[in-house]
């Protein structure tokens, strides 16, 4: 997370870390006691579920709990040479017990609408700037939804943003997700203080760069797909 701050305890209890040989590679969000949602591109290099472990808790060095991965389901239409359909679900080897510091995020209905300028948060253990160091403690940053029309302008992403993607950040740069935040949650709060998973960190050019905000997989677009794979 570029230009963010360390998250408080229990602020983002669904955030999890996907690791290979104890190294954090991607973020993910707990959506049920045995299911995570993340980005498909996290599994471009390591497809075998046995290689992966999942850690929960705010710090990577002292997790609340860990689980092995039973299976990884990557969206059927995902291809590593493009950014579309960048979504996967991960089944844990055994369910986690929910607690104040570990529970699931809400999934929005497919019809859930979000307006440009809405305040959202992105969280993760990714780099603190482009090619920068990686933190041990979970970071958060508040950003804004940017309409796909604005993001598709020539000087921004020039038409690369499809309906299955959502754009968030600032055209002025600075506050953004970064390398290693992939798969992690972009969340929005409703008026009852419930947090919904709006996006999944997917891609962007550099981190915090002017006119290059973060691009997220639009969860509402894939709501039925998630249900078909997890029954959630």
């Amino acid at each position: 997370i570029a230009d963010g701050k360390p998250a408080d305890k229990a602020s983002w209890p669904w955030q999890s870390s996907l690791q290979v040989e104890g190294i954090h590679l991607c973020g993910a969000s707990l959506i049920g006691s045995q299911w995570l949602v993340t980005s498909a591109h996290c599994f471009d290099n390591y497809k075998n579920p046995k290689l992966w472990t999942v850690s929960f808790g705010r710090t990577l060095s002292s997790p609340l709990t860990t689980r092995k991965v039973e299976s990884i389901i990557v969206h059927e239409n995902y291809a590593s040479h493009k950014h579309d359909d960048d979504i996967a679900v991960v089944k844990l080897s055994s369910p986690v017990l929910f607690s104040e510091n570990l529970h699931r995020v809400c999934l929005p209905d497919a019809t859930f609408q979000v307006l440009p300028k809405s305040k959202v948060f992105v969280t993760g253990w990714g780099a603190l700037k482009a090619n920068g160091p990686f933190p041990n403690s979970l970071q958060e940053v508040e950003i804004e939804i940017i309409s796909n029309d604005v993001c598709n302008q020539v000087n921004v992403y020039g038409g690369a943003i499809s309906s299955g993607m959502i754009c968030a950040g600032f055209l002025t740069g600075k506050l953004d997700a970064c390398e290693g935040d992939s798969g992690g949650p972009l969340v929005i709060s409703d008026n009852r203080n419930k947090w919904y998973l709006l996006g999944i960190v997917s891609w962007g050019i550099d981190c915090g760069k002017e006119n290059k905000p973060g691009i997220y997989t639009r969860v509402t677009h894939y709501r039925d797909w998630i249900k078909s794979k997890t029954s959630i």
């Binding site: 983002w12 209890p13 929910f98 529970h103």
Partner: protein, 185 residues
């Protein structure tokens, strides 16, 4: 020639400041011990979780009650929690009642049944009577008040639950995290 040594019995004499220091240290240790005992007996609280079932004759079961984020379900859950809050906050257990949460709705022949988890924190020394007290309070208040809740006579009333399992259930609702936006002060 062997000369027996002269044994001088040296009497150990405590200096007054040493005596004072030892006395003070002993008294301090005693005070800490008593303090710890009092703390563990009187103030150290243990969390207890009970599951209860209520019958709501005034409401007919609808499929909306099984949809996690339906307005009907969230509204009824809140209403039931508020009623249980009021019952215990106006009782002798008001300092020990923490919260309640509806965990499930079930259809019933004549209305709806709600399974509710109730959390208390009570000093260990009083824990033995908690269940009976809570049971009596619920029975008394539900009989006398205009509450929508009635006793579900088909199940034993308060059933104690294992803490980890209870916390799992209490935190099974999705999306509770950072409080946002911050409340203006």
């Amino acid at each position: 020639m062997y000369q027996p040594g002269i044994l001088v019995r040296r009497k150990r004499v405590w200096k007054p400041w040493t005596v004072a220091l030892i006395t003070v240290a002993l008294l301090l240790a005693l005070a800490v011990l008593i303090g710890l005992l009092v703390y563990f007996l009187v103030y150290d609280e243990k969390t207890h979780y009970y599951q209860a079932s209520f019958w709501i004759p005034s409401i007919n079961y609808s499929s909306d009650l099984s949809k996690e984020q339906s307005k009907f379900r969230t509204g009824l859950k809140q209403k039931i929690s508020n009623e249980i809050d009021v019952i215990f906050q106006r009782s002798s257990l008001k300092h020990h009642y923490v919260k309640s949460q509806v965990v499930n709705f079930r259809p019933s022949n004549d209305g709806v049944k709600a399974d509710v988890l109730i959390k208390f924190q009570i000093p260990r020394k009083n824990a033995g009577t908690l269940k009976r007290q809570a049971d009596n309070i619920l029975q008394e208040k539900l009989q006398s008040s205009q509450s929508i809740l009635k006793r579900d006579a088909s199940l034993p009333y308060l059933r104690e639950m294992n803490a980890a399992q209870a916390e799992h259930i209490l935190n099974s609702d999705c999306g509770s995290g950072m409080e946002y936006p911050p409340i203006a002060r």
